[in-house]
Symmetry: C2
Subunit: 162 residues, 2 copies
Amino acid sequence: VVTVPLDDERLTTVGLFFEAHAGLSRVSGRELESQTGLSVQWFEVLLRLVRSPGKRLRMSDLAAQTTLSASGLTRAVDRMEAARLVRREACPTDRRSTYAVLSDEGEASILRAIPVHVEHISTVLGSVFDDDELEVFTELVRRLRDVTNPLAAQASTPEALA
Amino acid sequence: VVTVPLDDERLTTVGLFFEAHAGLSRVSGRELESQTGLSVQWFEVLLRLVRSPGKRLRMSDLAAQTTLSASGLTRAVDRMEAARLVRREACPTDRRSTYAVLSDEGEASILRAIPVHVEHISTVLGSVFDDDELEVFTELVRRLRDVTNPLAAQASTPEALA
DNA sequence: AAAGATTGAATAATCAATCTTT
DNA sequence: AAAGATTGATTATTCAATCTTT
């Protein structure tokens, strides 16, 4: 008798979710990298910065909004600074903090990359969902995000950007 | 005039999806690791094996079914073999192939871990979705998975398991 | 003491090259 | 030549420890 649920429904949901992520991540990462020279990670960072007031964000806030840890972000910003996409600036009001600031090159780069990426994911999502389904999917994913990743959720609320 | 869509709806969908994945992965990874000593990756591998006929899978098939690349899987199986959770066995019909085979310890380990993990993700999913929503979500995610990760999709069809 | 950021050391992931078998 | 698997070398990620500022 099988007493362990090898095929529990929620286990399946999570498994599919992880597989979908791995697939989408691989596919859109390849596309993005070949078309724009940006990795998914750099794209994420630059996108956060270009959307932020003053095109800057403190290192710790940027880490909270991406998939990177604090030290992971430090290293990533090192490399992006070497590539002239961002620069570091001291925070005048709290000398513990450092701002990552989008450079002109970084801005040009992300503004070039966004349409390419949007075009690609539109094709993918368009081939999977119709408009209503996309709306439902987005809403359900948003709720899952709010619960599992409250830091990211907080970063995108209007108050947090004030 | 802003000509680049910084807030395209599908870009938001994908962003939320990635944030949700990062959150769920972190949260359930921590829980799984602390409760069972298995990383998400090892859990995935063991789960695939325990579900497979003969509790074994060729290295290349196992790689296709997980988030690991071929060489990534080789390294992971090295470590899991050292931990006595799996062993390698030669394939009698094709000497290029190697089977990764679940050991008794590996089986005990995954059978212990599954209920813990199911319990945890049930709590999370249960706090986000009601039953109908979970069903809708699962179906939409499945379709996204089928398109973006056809290898994983293929692995779970009945024919592929025959 | 705690927050913010960084670093060193260890661990893991990836790419191309390699080896064997088909 | 191509498939299957592995290895070496490089790169990236993580953890704990460190340093400065609050």
